[in-house]
Symmetry: C2
Subunit: 161 residues, 2 copies
């Protein structure tokens, strides 16, 4: 099945190129950005200002193609792409949880932005962990186990361009 | 920008129709399902068995079109669609966190499945909350505040068909 999506807006951030970007949200604390939602979708933002955090789905527009096995930024060995958050993946979609600071019409002011400037947004959902957190028991995070702490300072290189 | 995606597999679940489905993951605890990843992507699953939970992005293939304001299952008043998890949204994408029980070749056995049988999967990512949880401070969940507990027993009706 082929699925056609349209962007609903764009994300603007201080990251003009992939190289040097934070590789995960915890490396992007306090980084400010904006989402400019297309005017035609502005009515869909009603009451979004009651939420402190949003989950964004966006299109990794600078990544072309994909690799099925990748050596991610946080490790030295190769893993299947679906066991990583590598951007060079089938369908090239990214997810981030960002902080919503203020809403002005069709513009959302956000923080903790680990996204490239000009990234097309596909969907915006309220972040409500209460809806699934209780189902998460005995969490295991595979090869991230002793690596996720490194994500705070790790920056991207060109490997996924 | 128009974005073309291809399904990477299908999700199979006990839910053959939308009516009567759980509306959120906490209403689907213990519900078993399978993801059949297309053979061409099987190599991308290497090492995924180290993770206990996965984040799925899927296409809500039974929803056509969208409403910008919706009255969600958990409330009696209308909200902007981006302040809800209504499936009838621009681009009709859903996100769920599911438990990974076992991997057999290209088949992932999963639990906590709040997804319709036959749903096309767009992406599979490891669930690693350590990568963003520390950035989430002073959580506010808007109109869900006194409602999210109701999601345990709430079932879907036909309103988003």
């Amino acid at each position: 099945m082929i699925i056609n999506l349209s962007e609903i807006g764009r994300i603007y951030s201080p990251f003009k190129k992939i190289e040097g970007m934070p590789v995960q949200p915890i490396g992007a604390e306090e980084v400010k950005g904006e989402i400019h939602v297309s005017k035609e979708y502005e009515k869909g933002l009603k009451d979004i200002d009651g939420f402190s955090h949003l989950t964004l789905i966006y299109y990794l527009h600078k990544c072309e193609g994909h690799n099925l096995e990748v050596t991610p930024f946080l490790d030295n060995s190769a893993h299947g792409v679906f066991a990583t958050r590598s951007p060079k993946r089938p369908n090239n979609l990214g997810i981030s949880v960002v902080q919503l600071d203020k809403v002005e019409g069709n513009i959302l002011h956000i923080s903790n932005v680990d996204v490239l400037d000009g990234t097309p947004v596909i969907d915006i959902k309220p972040y409500v962990p209460q809806l699934y957190e209780k189902t998460v028991k005995n969490l295991k995070v595979g090869w991230f186990e002793n690596k996720h702490g490194d994500a705070v300072n790790k920056k991207a290189d060109k490997r996924f361009l």
